[in-house]
Every structure is written in structure tokens, then in C-alpha cells.
Amino acid sequence: MNREPTKEQLAAMAYADGELDDAARAEFEQLMATRPDLAREVAQLQRLELLSRQVAGPEPKDTEWERLSHDHVQRAGGNVGLGLLALGSLGLIVWCVLATLAGGLSPLGKASLLGLLAGSLLLLFSAVRARLRTRPFDPYTEVKR
């Protein structure tokens, strides 16, 4: 399966890639005229080259690179904001738990309130975990309007 290429196969590849000097190119063309298998090999490599060029698409424009440098600042701001929000929410939940435990609620009221808080926290955690796990395979992150 991983057979090393022969001299002729390497020459065919170098010929298709335009890597041979004039003398080697002329020599290979003479050989190719008598060897249909080499001519077919070269034709396939040229098709592959052409197909690659067709699917490669254009390089990003200057404006796209510029937009990226702005995005970076935007994203950093967003991340800091999200971090503060998460920290604040967590603090609020802890405060609620402590206030509930210290407050004058009946045991049933305390248990219900703690259950509500724990459930909300668990749901939030599950949703974030599921999203993080599926995001790399989500085709809709690539959709362009």
C-alpha cells in the first residue's frame, strides 16, 4: 500500500508540477510517448492540480484581515463581560442560598427554594456543557447570509 514511488513515477510528478529542467523535460516527453501509463499518470496529476485550483477559492481580502483585528478587541470585551456576568450570577446564587438558610422560612420552604436554585444551576450547567460538546460539529456555525 505504501510502496515507494519508482523513478518514472517521480519523474511524471515532477513533470506535471513543472519542476524538471529543459533537458529532463525533453527526455521525459520522449519516454512518455512510448509509455501510455505515464501519460495517464501525468494527465491525472494535471486534473488534480486543476481541481485543487478550482476549489481553493480566493484568498481573504485586506478588509477581512482588518475586520479580524477589530473583532479581536470586540471578542476580548465580550469574554470579560461574560466572565463578570457568570461570576456575578454565581455570587448571587451563593448569597440566595445563605440568605435562605439564615432566613425565617419553614424547612419545607427552605428545601423548595434550595431545590429551585439547584435545579436552575444544573439546567444551566447541562445546557452549556451540551453546547460546548456539539459546537465543533454544528454545521450551522458556517452558514453565511
Binding site: E8, L10, E49, Q54, P60
Partner: protein, 222 residues
């Protein structure tokens, strides 16, 4: 038929450390610009980025598939390069150094997203399993990055086949097919001899051709 060597087909071996070694001319300007950037010339670094970002983008896209991710990862690699400019040794070539940064940036991204998978024992194309991440599979992230050619069946077939290849195969095919680098430039970038470039390119293309199957057999104009 015996296995071939590059010098036998008229391409001289030209590897770093060899007596007659001379790097590809395309390596010189980025290296000079990086040296100037290291000495504090910010404009030189901007010119350097403008010069090599196309290549960085194509290589990154070969690794990660998505156009947007490739753009961001290239940008991230340039930022890392700028931050690490003091560690660039004058006298070494810029492209191999930068390529290592870019490759590590892409691998980190793929690892973080759980898309870098060790090849299974029944690897698709008969490769042995290895601990070298370059030989690992990269899991498909979804739609093919065909930049507006989504409806083109041939483009979809190409990317499906391309996404079956290992990281190492994608790397060399991206450099040759999307950036059209010559063998010497690829050898300098990857810091491998020309003979290894030709061998890797040969095997990577053969695997891609096998994956494309009928799409390369069709009778269409070249």
C-alpha cells in the same frame, strides 16, 4: 522498477547543512523583514504579514477546514509570532519558524475542539498508528470550505476526499496545490529534504486520488 530518488529525475538534493545548500529565493525577503521587525521596525512586520498571510491562510484552512477559523488562526499565529520576535535567531529562515508556530496554533485549536484523533489500527489508507500528531486524523467540522462552490459536486467530492487525509498529507497538499509552492520552497518551509517532499507529495496525492476515485477518471478538459 526500483524506487526513485529526486536526483535521478533531474532535481538535485538541496538540504540545510549540505555543502551546496541554497534556500528558495522566496525565503529571503520574509527572513529579512522578520530580522528588521526583531530590531523594532513595526512597518517591516506589517509588510511581512501582508506577504505571507495568504500562505498561512491556505495551510490553516487545510488543517481546520473552515475558512473563518483559518482566518482567525492565521491572525493568532501572527500575533504569537510578533510576541515571540525576540526569540527569532538571526541567520535562521523565517518560514520554517513561522510554520511551526502556525502548525502548533492549528493543532491546539483542533485538540481543544476534540477534532484531532489518533489513527485507528485499521487506518483508512494502510498507515500505521503513530504518536506523531502529524499522522493523526482530523475530524470533519461540517460543511466543506468550498468558498461559494457548495453546489459544485466536484468541489464537494474534493473536500470530502481531502478531509479523509492525515494532518501531514493535508499540510503538504495545501502548500503545493493551494499555494503552488515549488518543491524547494516546501522543503525549506517544512525543513525536510526535497526527496522527502516528493515522497510525501506522491503518497498524499495517491491517497487523495484514491479518495476522489471517479472524479479524476472523468473526461474533462485540462
Amino acid at each position: 522498477m526500483s524506487p526513485g530518488r529526486p536526483e535521478e529525475v533531474g532535481i538535485p538534493e538541496n538540504k540545510p547543512g549540505g555543502a551546496a545548500y541554497s534556500p528558495d529565493p522566496m525565503q529571503c525577503e520574509p527572513t529579512q523583514l522578520m530580522c528588521a521587525a526583531k530590531r523594532g521596525d513595526r512597518d517591516a512586520f506589517d509588510r511581512l504579514v501582508a506577504k505571507v498571510r495568504g500562505q498561512a491562510f491556505h495551510v490553516a484552512r487545510g488543517y481546520v477546514g473552515s475558512r473563518d477559523d483559518a482566518l482567525e488562526l492565521s491572525q493568532e499565529a501572527f500575533m504569537k509570532t510578533y510576541r515571540a520576535r525576540d526569540t527569532f535567531r538571526e541567520g535562521e529562515l523565517f518560514m520554517p519558524w513561522f510554520h511551526r508556530i502556525l502548525r502548533n496554533t492549528c493543532y491546539s485549536f483542533l485538540r481543544k475542539n476534540g477534532r484531532l484523533k489518533k489513527r485507528s489500527l485499521n487506518a483508512r489508507f494502510g498507515n500505521d498508528t503513530t504518536d506523531d500528531e502529524a499522522d493523526w486524523d482530523i475530524e470533519d467540522a461540517g460543511p466543506a470550505p468550498s468558498a461559494g462552490l457548495e453546489s459544485d459536486e466536484r468541489a464537494q467530492a474534493f473536500w470530502r476526499g481531502f478531509n479523509l487525509l492525515s494532518a501531514r498529507d493535508r499540510e503538504i497538499l495545501s502548500l503545493r496545490h493551494f499555494k503552488e509552492l515549488r518543491y524547494q520552497a516546501i522543503a525549506d518551509t517544512l525543513e525536510i529534504p526535497i526527496g522527502t517532499v516528493m515522497s510525501r507529495l506522491f503518497h498524499a496525492r495517491r491517497r487523495l486520488r484514491e479518495a476522489l476515485g471517479e472524479f479524476l477518471e472523468e473526461d474533462w478538459d485540462v
